[in-house]
Amino acid sequence: MDSYDQVSLSSLIKPDRVHKDYYIDPEIFKLEIDRIFSKSWLLVGHESQVPNPGDFVTLTLLTQPMIMSRHRDGSLHVMFNRCSHRGARVCTKPSGNALRFECPYHGWAFHTNGDHAGVPYPERYADGFLEDGDFDLARPPKQEIYRGFVFVALDSEVSDLDTFLGPMRYHIDNMVDRSPAGELEAPAGMFRYRFAANWKIQLENLNDLYHPMFTHASTTAEDGTQFRRQGAEGDEAGKVKLLEKHSSLNMQWEEQVIAGHPHGHTYMQRFPMDRENQGPVYERYKSSMVEAYGAEAEAKMKVHHHNSIFFPHWSIQYMTQHIRIMNPISVDCTENIIIPLKLKGAPEEMWKSALRSNNNSHSPAGMVMADDMDAWVRCQEGMQANGHDWIVFARSVGEESIDNEGSFQGLGTSEANARHQHRAWLHYMCGMDQGV
């Protein structure tokens, strides 16, 4: 029997604080896998990672080994990477191209759509055994692709993807629509890292505006600007003014909208100090957008958001151009992958600039990422200490507006984004409706 019932789960979440067991109790983590991750649509990757027939990538989803592959008929398949015979991981290459997958243990073979392709020496099996049994590679019960983003659900009861995403669907559209071809690509592989902190600490951080001036103080120059984040090669347009003075809060940030929708999704408006791109490369981009979309081009080019987090485990960062998938491994271990995104059809210089921006800020040596990871690990370590049992999220508590559908809107450094995630967490964990 579970040691947590609805009452004890509810007692962990207060309007302005959460109990530290929320982050450090392994029992809670086990329940989260069953009640949150198994009840959500999970992002596996982007379909451009496997453009050609036979292309595949292997990946870890939660702790499960998976294969995403492109079959010879062009269809895309996500399968569990486990031989239907003795359970061996069928494919161990990170990526490649295969005619079929063959298990090295006893030679059982599978087509690139997961169908069982046969076994060596089948005559020793009883008549009909191989035909009757289902020896295909197992597949998650649900799979959907939305504008190149590949999702699976581990429970067949999960609501349809459209309902799950709700208004967040437009946060995918905003990214894809910036491409003159209406498509994104992921041609540069990914960063991978592991850190010793609970998955929710990162989730609370991504749309937290209270931390940058402290956590990222070392990436800020004397004049308050941060190194180039985005912009054409060599130009200064991408330098973000993080601080007015050393470690002072830039008041523009308090005006910035932090908002979210049911199912725990949250997003942050674009930084007001992010300057518009300009210059000859950007003009070329603009022309190709006008050619593709006519009068709608201007609206499609507009970057609305800085970060959108699709609860419980992935996000889009719009200026830097990447998706981040956050894999919970255990109560105190999370693995990230970050996949830079190319706007198909945009000038090559823009892609080079975006890739460099990702290298600078989000590689394992990235000058933003390293600060954040260090802070998350410190939280996990610090929470082992006795004394205060509660983690505080009280800034501007109650000032956010929450509508009848369960969407909220708050401002600046209010920590409203984290409180929204806490409410969604409780709803998931208690099996309640994700509305209000």
């Binding site: 960063f191 103080a217 990702n358 394992p364 390293a370 990871m373």
Partner: protein, 157 residues
């Protein structure tokens, strides 16, 4: 010639271990860069993600950051030991004033009771200077775990 080049490369490793980062970046030519690919067998830094892909201005930013009083990911600072070996001279280029140098390197890092080890092949492209020394046009480090899972990195290899 190989003696002078070995001395240059050993000194470079020592500057990093002694946290003399400003002197380390002075070894680079104005157009020099430092590259640690994020995938094996890369021909071009724009083919894949890079762990480091820094020109001189970015290297300077990185060093300013390491020196910043509030760089908490270096509190306490990493201690490192760069062990360089297997030095071989490669092809000369551009007349006679450029030379490629191959080496193997292990950087061991200790911080907060954790010891981590990073191994890889290094390729330098060096240019002779008028003062009779060398400067780095390119330094490329191919880590054996370049596409693996990393924790936080701060100190260059």
């Amino acid at each position: 010639m190989i003696k002078e080049i070995e001395a240059f490369i050993y000194r470079e490793a020592r500057l990093l271990d002694e946290r003399r980062f400003e002197e380390w970046i002075e070894l680079f030519a104005p157009e020099g860069y430092y590259w640690v690919p994020g995938a094996p067998d890369q021909d071009d830094p724009y083919e894949s993600v890079s762990i480091f892909f820094d020109d001189l201005p970015l290297l300077k930013t990185r060093i300013q950051r390491i020196r910043h009083p509030k760089i908490h990911s270096q509190e306490p600072p990493s201690r490192t030991c760069h062990l360089v070996s297997n030095i071989e001279l490669g092809a000369r280029g551009n007349g006679n004033d450029q030379i490629s140098v191959f080496s193997a390197q292990i950087m061991t890092e200790f911080r907060l009771d954790k010891e981590r080890s990073y191994s890889g092949r290094v390729k330098h492209l060096l240019r002779s200077t008028e003062e009779g020394n060398f400067e780095i046009l390119r330094k490329r480090v191919d880590l054996i775990n370049c596409d693996g899972l990393f924790e936080t990195l701060t100190i260059p290899f």
